[in-house]
Symmetry: C2
Subunit: 146 residues, 2 copies
DNA sequence: TCATTTATGCAATAGTGTTGCAAATATAAT
DNA sequence: ATTATATTTGCAACACTATTGCATAAATGA
Protein backbone atom coordinates (compact mmCIF):
# COMPACT_ATOMS: atom_id res chain seq x y z
CA UNK A 1 0.00 0.00 0.00
CA UNK A 2 2.70 2.46 0.90
CA UNK A 3 4.35 2.48 -2.48
CA UNK A 4 1.32 4.28 -3.87
CA UNK A 5 2.23 7.59 -2.29
CA UNK A 6 4.44 10.13 -3.97
CA UNK A 7 7.18 11.26 -1.71
CA UNK A 8 8.97 14.52 -1.96
CA UNK A 9 12.44 13.15 -1.46
CA UNK A 10 13.81 16.20 0.30
CA UNK A 11 11.11 15.95 2.92
CA UNK A 12 11.84 12.26 3.45
CA UNK A 13 15.41 13.08 4.40
CA UNK A 14 14.20 15.54 7.02
CA UNK A 15 11.64 13.14 8.38
CA UNK A 16 14.14 10.32 8.66
CA UNK A 17 16.31 12.74 10.61
CA UNK A 18 13.43 13.51 12.97
CA UNK A 19 12.77 9.83 13.64
CA UNK A 20 16.46 9.00 14.06
CA UNK A 21 17.00 11.83 16.51
CA UNK A 22 14.18 10.46 18.63
CA UNK A 23 15.37 6.85 18.43
CA UNK A 24 12.37 5.72 16.44
CA UNK A 25 12.87 3.06 13.79
CA UNK A 26 12.36 4.19 10.23
CA UNK A 27 9.39 2.47 8.62
CA UNK A 28 7.32 3.34 5.57
CA UNK A 29 4.18 3.68 7.61
CA UNK A 30 5.76 6.17 10.01
CA UNK A 31 7.19 8.22 7.18
CA UNK A 32 3.82 8.44 5.50
CA UNK A 33 2.08 9.52 8.70
CA UNK A 34 4.82 12.05 9.40
CA UNK A 35 4.50 13.30 5.84
CA UNK A 36 0.77 13.88 6.26
CA UNK A 37 1.31 15.76 9.49
CA UNK A 38 4.08 17.87 7.95
CA UNK A 39 1.92 18.92 5.00
CA UNK A 40 -0.65 20.50 7.27
CA UNK A 41 -0.16 23.89 8.80
CA UNK A 42 -3.01 23.34 11.23
CA UNK A 43 -3.59 20.49 13.65
CA UNK A 44 -5.41 17.52 12.15
CA UNK A 45 -7.66 14.81 13.53
CA UNK A 46 -7.17 11.06 13.51
CA UNK A 47 -10.01 10.93 11.01
CA UNK A 48 -8.21 13.27 8.60
CA UNK A 49 -5.07 11.16 8.81
CA UNK A 50 -7.09 8.02 8.16
CA UNK A 51 -8.70 9.61 5.10
CA UNK A 52 -5.38 10.68 3.67
CA UNK A 53 -3.83 7.31 4.33
CA UNK A 54 -6.56 5.64 2.31
CA UNK A 55 -5.68 1.98 2.54
CA UNK A 56 -4.20 1.43 5.96
CA UNK A 57 -4.38 -0.35 9.29
CA UNK A 58 -6.11 1.58 12.04
CA UNK A 59 -4.35 -0.25 14.86
CA UNK A 60 -0.93 0.51 13.45
CA UNK A 61 -1.93 4.13 13.11
CA UNK A 62 -2.95 4.32 16.76
CA UNK A 63 0.35 2.74 17.76
CA UNK A 64 2.30 5.05 15.49
CA UNK A 65 0.66 8.14 16.97
CA UNK A 66 1.20 6.81 20.48
CA UNK A 67 4.90 6.34 19.76
CA UNK A 68 5.14 9.80 18.18
CA UNK A 69 3.51 11.38 21.24
CA UNK A 70 5.73 9.47 23.68
CA UNK A 71 8.88 10.39 21.80
CA UNK A 72 7.95 14.03 21.39
CA UNK A 73 7.41 14.06 17.63
CA UNK A 74 3.75 14.94 17.86
CA UNK A 75 1.53 16.52 20.44
CA UNK A 76 -2.12 16.09 21.13
CA UNK A 77 -4.51 19.02 21.31
CA UNK A 78 -7.78 18.66 23.16
CA UNK A 79 -10.53 21.18 22.72
CA UNK A 80 -14.06 21.43 24.12
CA UNK A 81 -16.65 19.23 22.45
CA UNK A 82 -14.60 16.07 22.16
CA UNK A 83 -12.26 17.62 19.64
CA UNK A 84 -8.94 15.87 19.53
CA UNK A 85 -6.25 16.89 17.08
CA UNK A 86 -2.60 16.22 16.43
CA UNK A 87 0.26 18.44 15.37
CA UNK A 88 3.99 18.07 14.88
CA UNK A 89 6.09 19.35 17.71
CA UNK A 90 8.69 21.95 16.96
CA UNK A 91 12.33 21.21 17.66
CA UNK A 92 12.12 22.58 21.18
CA UNK A 93 10.51 19.58 22.79
CA UNK A 94 12.96 16.76 22.35
CA UNK A 95 12.56 14.47 25.31
CA UNK A 96 9.64 15.88 27.20
CA UNK A 97 6.82 17.93 25.87
CA UNK A 98 7.94 21.36 26.86
CA UNK A 99 5.59 23.45 24.85
CA UNK A 100 4.86 26.83 26.15
CA UNK A 101 2.64 27.54 23.27
CA UNK A 102 -0.86 28.48 22.36
CA UNK A 103 -3.60 26.58 20.61
CA UNK A 104 -5.99 28.79 18.72
CA UNK A 105 -9.32 27.49 17.51
CA UNK A 106 -11.21 29.52 14.94
CA UNK A 107 -14.92 29.68 15.69
CA UNK A 108 -15.62 30.13 12.00
CA UNK A 109 -13.57 27.50 10.15
CA UNK A 110 -12.87 25.38 13.25
CA UNK A 111 -9.23 24.99 12.31
CA UNK A 112 -6.81 24.71 15.18
CA UNK A 113 -3.53 26.59 14.91
CA UNK A 114 -0.56 25.72 17.04
CA UNK A 115 1.23 28.99 17.63
CA UNK A 116 4.48 29.77 19.37
CA UNK A 117 4.34 33.07 21.15
CA UNK A 118 7.48 35.00 21.97
CA UNK A 119 6.68 36.32 25.43
CA UNK A 120 4.62 33.74 27.23
CA UNK A 121 2.64 35.36 30.04
CA UNK A 122 3.69 34.50 33.58
CA UNK A 123 1.06 33.75 36.15
CA UNK A 124 1.66 33.74 39.88
CA UNK A 125 -0.83 31.52 41.65
CA UNK A 126 -0.59 31.38 45.44
CA UNK A 127 -0.72 27.81 46.66
CA UNK A 128 0.39 26.33 43.37
CA UNK A 129 3.86 25.81 41.95
CA UNK A 130 3.49 26.17 38.19
CA UNK A 131 6.05 24.34 36.05
CA UNK A 132 4.49 24.63 32.65
CA UNK A 133 1.60 26.36 30.98
CA UNK A 134 -0.48 26.08 27.85
CA UNK A 135 -3.01 28.50 26.49
CA UNK A 136 -6.17 27.67 24.61
CA UNK A 137 -7.57 30.61 22.69
CA UNK A 138 -10.80 30.94 20.74
CA UNK A 139 -11.74 33.54 18.18
CA UNK A 140 -11.40 34.21 14.47
CA UNK A 141 -8.40 33.50 12.26
CA UNK A 142 -6.90 35.74 9.57
CA UNK A 143 -8.52 33.87 6.69
CA UNK A 144 -12.00 34.10 8.18
CA UNK A 145 -11.56 37.75 9.18
CA UNK A 146 -10.92 38.99 5.64
CA UNK B 1 -32.69 4.25 43.23
CA UNK B 2 -32.49 7.92 44.07
CA UNK B 3 -34.24 7.67 47.40
CA UNK B 4 -31.19 5.88 48.73
CA UNK B 5 -29.05 8.98 48.87
CA UNK B 6 -28.90 11.29 51.83
CA UNK B 7 -29.48 14.83 50.86
CA UNK B 8 -28.30 17.82 52.80
CA UNK B 9 -31.48 19.79 52.56
CA UNK B 10 -29.84 23.20 52.58
CA UNK B 11 -27.74 22.22 49.56
CA UNK B 12 -30.80 20.97 47.73
CA UNK B 13 -32.39 24.41 47.97
CA UNK B 14 -29.28 25.97 46.40
CA UNK B 15 -29.13 23.39 43.67
CA UNK B 16 -32.78 23.79 42.79
CA UNK B 17 -32.08 27.50 42.51
CA UNK B 18 -29.19 26.83 40.13
CA UNK B 19 -31.34 24.65 37.90
CA UNK B 20 -34.28 27.03 37.95
CA UNK B 21 -32.11 30.00 37.06
CA UNK B 22 -30.90 28.11 33.99
CA UNK B 23 -34.35 26.92 32.98
CA UNK B 24 -33.56 23.30 33.64
CA UNK B 25 -36.32 21.10 35.01
CA UNK B 26 -35.80 19.82 38.52
CA UNK B 27 -35.42 16.07 38.62
CA UNK B 28 -33.98 13.75 41.23
CA UNK B 29 -31.29 12.53 38.89
CA UNK B 30 -30.07 16.04 38.12
CA UNK B 31 -30.03 16.99 41.78
CA UNK B 32 -27.96 13.94 42.65
CA UNK B 33 -25.43 14.65 39.87
CA UNK B 34 -25.26 18.29 40.88
CA UNK B 35 -24.78 17.23 44.48
CA UNK B 36 -21.85 15.01 43.55
CA UNK B 37 -20.23 17.81 41.58
CA UNK B 38 -20.78 20.29 44.40
CA UNK B 39 -19.16 18.07 46.99
CA UNK B 40 -15.87 18.03 45.08
CA UNK B 41 -13.47 20.91 45.23
CA UNK B 42 -11.54 19.58 42.24
CA UNK B 43 -12.79 18.60 38.80
CA UNK B 44 -14.04 15.03 38.50
CA UNK B 45 -14.31 12.54 35.68
CA UNK B 46 -17.38 10.84 34.24
CA UNK B 47 -16.08 7.65 35.80
CA UNK B 48 -15.97 9.19 39.28
CA UNK B 49 -19.53 10.41 38.90
CA UNK B 50 -20.63 6.96 37.76
CA UNK B 51 -18.96 5.36 40.78
CA UNK B 52 -20.60 7.74 43.21
CA UNK B 53 -23.98 7.32 41.58
CA UNK B 54 -23.80 3.59 42.13
CA UNK B 55 -27.00 2.32 40.58
CA UNK B 56 -27.74 4.56 37.65
CA UNK B 57 -28.35 4.87 33.94
CA UNK B 58 -25.32 5.77 31.83
CA UNK B 59 -27.33 7.30 29.01
CA UNK B 60 -29.22 9.61 31.32
CA UNK B 61 -25.95 10.69 32.88
CA UNK B 62 -24.48 11.61 29.49
CA UNK B 63 -27.62 13.56 28.67
CA UNK B 64 -27.61 15.25 32.05
CA UNK B 65 -24.02 16.37 31.65
CA UNK B 66 -24.69 17.52 28.10
CA UNK B 67 -27.60 19.64 29.35
CA UNK B 68 -25.50 21.03 32.20
CA UNK B 69 -22.74 22.01 29.80
CA UNK B 70 -25.13 23.61 27.33
CA UNK B 71 -26.88 25.59 30.05
CA UNK B 72 -23.67 26.72 31.69
CA UNK B 73 -23.97 24.76 34.92
CA UNK B 74 -20.91 22.67 34.31
CA UNK B 75 -17.80 23.02 32.21
CA UNK B 76 -15.58 20.45 30.64
CA UNK B 77 -11.85 20.41 31.26
CA UNK B 78 -9.58 18.70 28.77
CA UNK B 79 -6.02 17.83 29.60
CA UNK B 80 -3.27 15.99 27.74
CA UNK B 81 -3.53 12.22 27.79
CA UNK B 82 -7.24 11.94 27.09
CA UNK B 83 -8.08 13.36 30.48
CA UNK B 84 -11.59 14.76 30.54
CA UNK B 85 -13.05 16.19 33.70
CA UNK B 86 -16.05 18.18 34.78
CA UNK B 87 -16.50 21.01 37.23
CA UNK B 88 -19.30 23.30 38.30
CA UNK B 89 -19.25 26.72 36.75
CA UNK B 90 -19.21 29.71 38.99
CA UNK B 91 -22.02 32.22 38.80
CA UNK B 92 -20.25 34.30 36.18
CA UNK B 93 -21.10 32.16 33.19
CA UNK B 94 -24.85 32.18 32.95
CA UNK B 95 -25.76 31.83 29.30
CA UNK B 96 -22.49 31.25 27.53
CA UNK B 97 -19.34 29.78 28.92
CA UNK B 98 -17.33 32.86 29.59
CA UNK B 99 -14.67 31.45 31.76
CA UNK B 100 -11.46 33.27 31.74
CA UNK B 101 -9.99 30.96 34.25
CA UNK B 102 -7.18 28.56 34.77
CA UNK B 103 -7.06 24.82 35.08
CA UNK B 104 -4.22 23.53 37.18
CA UNK B 105 -3.21 19.90 37.10
CA UNK B 106 -0.94 18.61 39.86
CA UNK B 107 1.74 16.29 38.53
CA UNK B 108 1.85 14.56 41.88
CA UNK B 109 -1.76 13.82 42.88
CA UNK B 110 -3.19 14.42 39.38
CA UNK B 111 -6.05 16.46 40.76
CA UNK B 112 -7.31 19.25 38.55
CA UNK B 113 -8.16 22.55 40.19
CA UNK B 114 -10.34 25.12 38.52
CA UNK B 115 -9.01 28.48 39.63
CA UNK B 116 -10.27 31.97 39.00
CA UNK B 117 -7.44 34.43 38.63
CA UNK B 118 -7.92 38.12 39.20
CA UNK B 119 -5.85 39.60 36.39
CA UNK B 120 -6.10 37.31 33.41
CA UNK B 121 -3.11 37.83 31.11
CA UNK B 122 -3.81 39.40 27.74
CA UNK B 123 -2.15 37.98 24.67
CA UNK B 124 -1.87 39.87 21.41
CA UNK B 125 -1.53 37.49 18.50
CA UNK B 126 -1.06 39.07 15.07
CA UNK B 127 -3.38 37.47 12.55
CA UNK B 128 -5.81 36.18 15.12
CA UNK B 129 -8.73 37.87 16.83
CA UNK B 130 -8.93 36.33 20.28
CA UNK B 131 -12.35 36.34 21.94
CA UNK B 132 -11.74 34.03 24.84
CA UNK B 133 -8.84 32.31 26.51
CA UNK B 134 -8.23 29.48 28.89
CA UNK B 135 -5.02 28.56 30.63
CA UNK B 136 -3.85 25.08 31.43
CA UNK B 137 -1.14 24.96 34.05
CA UNK B 138 0.89 22.03 35.31
CA UNK B 139 2.94 21.75 38.47
CA UNK B 140 2.51 20.87 42.12
CA UNK B 141 -0.37 21.77 44.38
CA UNK B 142 -0.24 23.06 47.97
CA UNK B 143 -1.08 19.65 49.50
CA UNK B 144 1.66 17.86 47.60
CA UNK B 145 4.22 20.60 48.25
CA UNK B 146 4.04 20.34 52.03
C1' DT C 1 24.15 -12.16 5.70
C1' DC C 2 22.54 -13.40 10.04
C1' DA C 3 20.72 -12.69 14.82
C1' DT C 4 18.07 -9.83 17.55
C1' DT C 5 14.85 -6.50 18.37
C1' DT C 6 10.95 -3.99 17.08
C1' DA C 7 6.86 -3.08 14.06
C1' DT C 8 2.93 -4.63 11.53
C1' DG C 9 -1.62 -6.62 10.61
C1' DC C 10 -5.35 -9.45 12.06
C1' DA C 11 -8.86 -10.85 15.39
C1' DA C 12 -11.04 -9.99 19.38
C1' DT C 13 -12.45 -6.92 22.89
C1' DA C 14 -13.05 -2.85 25.90
C1' DG C 15 -14.35 1.87 26.41
C1' DT C 16 -16.93 6.06 25.14
C1' DG C 17 -20.77 8.32 23.43
C1' DT C 18 -25.25 8.56 20.60
C1' DT C 19 -30.09 7.67 18.70
C1' DG C 20 -34.99 6.15 18.69
C1' DC C 21 -38.78 5.15 21.22
C1' DA C 22 -42.22 4.01 24.87
C1' DA C 23 -43.14 4.88 29.66
C1' DA C 24 -42.60 8.03 33.49
C1' DT C 25 -42.25 12.51 35.44
C1' DA C 26 -42.22 17.76 35.85
C1' DT C 27 -44.45 21.83 34.94
C1' DA C 28 -48.20 25.01 34.01
C1' DA C 29 -53.03 25.80 33.60
C1' DT C 30 -57.48 24.80 35.05
C1' DA D 1 -56.09 18.64 43.34
C1' DT D 2 -56.49 17.26 38.50
C1' DT D 3 -55.47 17.36 33.96
C1' DA D 4 -52.90 18.49 29.59
C1' DT D 5 -48.52 19.30 27.63
C1' DA D 6 -43.77 19.15 27.30
C1' DT D 7 -39.71 17.14 28.82
C1' DT D 8 -37.00 13.45 30.88
C1' DT D 9 -35.92 8.82 31.80
C1' DG D 10 -34.57 4.06 30.90
C1' DC D 11 -33.99 0.43 27.70
C1' DA D 12 -32.16 -1.58 23.46
C1' DA D 13 -29.39 -1.10 19.82
C1' DC D 14 -25.69 0.94 17.63
C1' DA D 15 -21.51 3.82 16.16
C1' DC D 16 -17.16 5.43 17.12
C1' DT D 17 -12.67 5.34 19.53
C1' DA D 18 -8.97 2.83 21.36
C1' DT D 19 -6.43 -1.28 23.22
C1' DT D 20 -4.41 -6.15 23.75
C1' DG D 21 -2.40 -10.62 22.29
C1' DC D 22 -0.14 -12.98 18.99
C1' DA D 23 2.00 -14.65 14.67
C1' DT D 24 4.39 -12.76 10.78
C1' DA D 25 7.26 -9.28 8.69
C1' DA D 26 10.63 -5.85 8.67
C1' DA D 27 14.51 -2.86 10.63
C1' DT D 28 18.78 -2.51 12.92
C1' DG D 29 23.43 -3.80 14.46
C1' DA D 30 27.12 -7.20 14.40
Amino acid sequence: MLQKRNFFCNFVAEMIEILKSRNIRITDFRLVVLDILARHKTAISMEQIEEELGDFDRITLYRTIKTFIEKGVVHEILMPGNVKKLALCDDGCQDEHHHEHLHFQCNSCNEIYCVDIPRFPKVNLPGFKIDRMEIQAFGTCQQCLS
